[in-house]
């Protein structure tokens, strides 16, 4: 007590318990910060554990490639000395026979075959057959005996592939998603044009997303403008038309389009009755009845329908904040209505346009359900190929590599969105 009183005379402001006010404030603020962090921590930990870590592990699969290295360990070591020109030496074949015997015992031969099959199509069954027959070989020389089992082992390319895939980490999956590959010497080259398919898939995904974004902007901008400038009562009623689809599940809307777009379905009927079919036929743009199901057209229409509210709502909320006085002022200064709109009103709406279009573009990149249901085989986007790589081909490396590419594109745009608009300013409805 005496100390506190003595200290009180030195001109420093103090809290009730005698600590300097500055210290007490810092302490209180720190306590507040700890409390705030404590509130966020449960969700943050949950998201990291249940969401971020699984995705990172999956992405790791795009470079992690242990099948050959783990199951042909001696072969891999023996191949280190090989120059890649002639067939490998007897030593390599001996190691290979030993490895294959072990792999056959552990039932791992199919894994090796599957992995090699990604690079040499059709080799899987040959590897499996070799695994079965290799047990009969118990004395050197192995080289000719192995080649006798299948002549694929007499080709330098086969051994080059094994050597290339002998590391636990491989650039193979990522490279092939970019239509690149390593040649026998390890340098990177383009794959032949007839085997380069992934560039098309990437271009298609970006193309569809861009087109859908553009369509939602063309359709959404005028609607947002009318909603923002109409009297409150009218606007609320019109808003229902935008919000009801927004709240209806994506699957239901896709189903609706699917049902309407079936051949001879409601959409075709509407086209027939309104004379659009006749018009398109006469103009030579279409022949006979409209065939819409499983087409690019149906995919774009359905995706535009689903994404329209996402583009429209941010534009609307920016337009709501623009005072009508600017347009009045511009007009009173003699601008024509069109010129005033172009030079005064539109520039002010650009933040909303950027926010809406970016959001729609980001969400479009990941579309899977809609192209799968209303699109044809040539309308599938990256997500569809990821699903197929897992469910039909059981090729996790490929799925993960496609995932890396899709996620990279998404994250770059997300970063731009965050910098440009700010994630904390995102609003729903």
């Amino acid at each position: 007590m005496a100390m506190a009183q003595a200290a009180a005379n030195d001109g420093v402001m103090r809290a009730a318990d005698g600590t300097p006010l500055k210290v007490a404030l810092a302490r209180a603020e720190r306590r507040e910060k700890v409390k705030a962090v404590g509130l966020v921590l449960p969700l943050f930990a949950f998201i990291i554990l249940s969401f971020v870590v699984p995705i990172l592990i999956m992405l790791y699969n795009s470079v992690y490639d242990p099948d050959v290295a783990e199951n042909l360990p001696q072969t891999v070591v023996a191949l280190k000395q090989w120059d890649g020109k002639e067939l490998p030496s007897e030593e390599v074949f001996a190691a290979f026979v030993a490895d294959m015997k072990a792999a056959q015992k552990n039932k791992q031969v199919a894994l090796v075959g599957k992995r090699l099959n990604y690079e040499i199509s059709g080799i899987r069954s040959k590897v499996v057959a070799t695994g079965r027959k290799v047990a009969a070989l118990d004395a050197a020389p192995f080289k000719d005996a192995v080649i006798a089992i299948d002549k694929v082992w007499g080709e330098a390319e086969t051994w080059a592939t094994i050597k290339r895939s002998s590391s636990v980490y491989t650039p193979f999956y990522i490279l092939s998603m970019l239509d690149l590959r390593q040649d026998a010497n390890g340098s990177i080259e383009r794959v032949p044009a007839d085997r380069s398919i992934y560039k098309d898939i990437l271009a298609r995904t970006l193309g569809i997303s861009f087109l859908v974004t553009l369509m939602t902007l063309i359709f959404g901008y005028p609607v947002a403008y009318l909603l923002a400038t109409s009297p409150q009562k009218t606007a609320s009623i019109l808003m229902i038309f935008v919000l009801l689809p927004f709240w209806t599940s994506l699957l239901v809307r896709t189903t609706a389009w699917m049902i309407l777009m079936t051949d001879g379905g409601v959409f075709a009927q509407v086209l027939n009755y309104t004379g659009i079919t006749w018009l398109l036929n006469t103009a030579g743009l279409m022949e006979g009845e409209p065939q819409l199901f499983k087409t690019r057209f149906a995919t774009i229409v359905a995706m535009t329908h689903i994404q329209l509210p996402f583009t429209l709502l941010p534009i609307y909320s920016v337009m709501k904040t623009i005072s009508p006085n600017y347009m009045r002022a511009a007009k009173s200064l003699g601008g024509t209505p069109f010129y005033c709109f172009l030079r005064v009103y539109m520039p002010q709406t650009l933040p909303g346009v950027a926010a809406g279009c970016l959001l729609t573009f980001i969400l479009c990149l990941g579309y899977y359900i809609t192209p799968a249901l209303v699109g044809g085989p040539t309308d599938q986007m990256i997500s569809g190929f990821i699903e197929r790589a897992i469910n039909s081909e059981n090729n996790w490396g490929k799925a993960s590599a496609l995932g890396v590419i899709l996620l990279t594109a998404t994250m770059i745009l997300y970063y731009v969105y965050n910098k440009l608009i700010g994630i904390d300013r995102m609003k729903l409805g």
């Binding site: 449960p42 943050f44 969401f51 999956m58 609706a256 899709l406 409805g429």
Partner: protein
């Protein structure tokens, strides 16, 4: 509706052209949803007008065939559990994030919102592989955890938005009147941010209730949710029961929309924002 007399011819044309165009777009937005509904009363199993007769048999199938009714039950179960978890975690996080000078707020927020941005196929595949190692794949708990991760961003966004206009001096007032922190939260803060919380909860519910890609990977064959049942039904062969299911789902989303809109107005009134 007549145009003002001072309009030029060009302005008059633009005025009507805008309205016609907007009318067309709004029709485009609403018509697919409306057009499917009557088809669910079709007595025949095809999808064109005019319909030969009316029947409730697709609804009978939807409500009484265990294939569908079990899926509906499963969906409600998962969505309710997800809603509770997501709302609790999301609200707590939003409360923390809205405190002044939160460290690295932008980065933390970006991580918390990322489940909404990351393509759902990537989330689904990653979770499938990871949860399989924890023996969670094919379990209901696995689906609930995955859906909670996908749904929390919506809660964080809505509650943060509500809190941004929340007057924090009210909390100090409560504390200075002698209330403990949890009393302040339940008696002062929560009644005021409740509309935002409920909106967030509804978003979380809908996110889980409509989600199909994650369940496609994580659900066991016995634990089909309604969207999964619809999706696999559509892929194999379109049964008209799907139109009945779609109609019921549209009605549910309409109810959600009305509730959220009412809450938004109430919240604006509570916070003194004139609408």
């Amino acid at each position: 509706m007549a145009v003002p007399s001072y309009f030029t011819t060009g302005e008059t044309i633009a005025y009507y052209a805008l309205r016609v165009f907007v009318g067309f777009v709004l029709l485009f937005l609403i018509s697919p949803i409306i057009a499917v509904m009557p088809l669910s009363f079709n007595s025949e199993s095809f999808f064109t007008y005019p319909m030969p007769g009316y029947s409730l048999k697709w609804y009978e199938d939807f409500f009484f065939n265990p294939r569908w009714s079990d899926a509906v039950k499963m969906s409600f179960l998962v969505a309710l559990a997800t809603t509770v978890l997501a709302t609790a975690l999301g609200t707590l996080a939003a409360l923390g994030l809205s405190r002044a000078n939160f460290p690295a707020k932008a980065t933390i927020m970006a991580v918390l919102i990322s489940p909404m941005i990351v393509p759902v196929i990537i989330s689904a595949v990653g979770m499938f592989k990871f949860y399989a190692q924890l023996d969670l794949a094919g379990t209901r708990l696995g689906i609930v955890l995955a859906h909670t991760a996908l749904a929390t961003p919506f809660v964080v966004i809505t509650v943060t938005a509500t809190l941004s206009s929340f007057d924090k001096t009210l909390m100090r007032a409560g504390a200075s009147c002698g209330a403990a922190p949890h009393t302040v939260f339940f008696k002062v803060v929560m009644p005021l941010i409740l509309p935002g919380m409920i909106s967030g909860a509804l978003f979380a519910f809908v996110t889980s209730f409509d989600e199909v890609v994650v369940v496609l990977f994580l659900a066991s064959p016995e634990d089909r949710t309604l969207p999964l049942q619809m999706f696999s039904g559509i892929r194999e062969m379109i049964s008209p029961t799907i139109t009945a299911a779609a109609t019921v789902l549209v009605l549910i989303s309409t109810a959600m929309l009305v509730t959220v809109e009412m809450l938004r107005r109430r919240s604006e009134k509570l916070r003194g924002i004139a609408s």
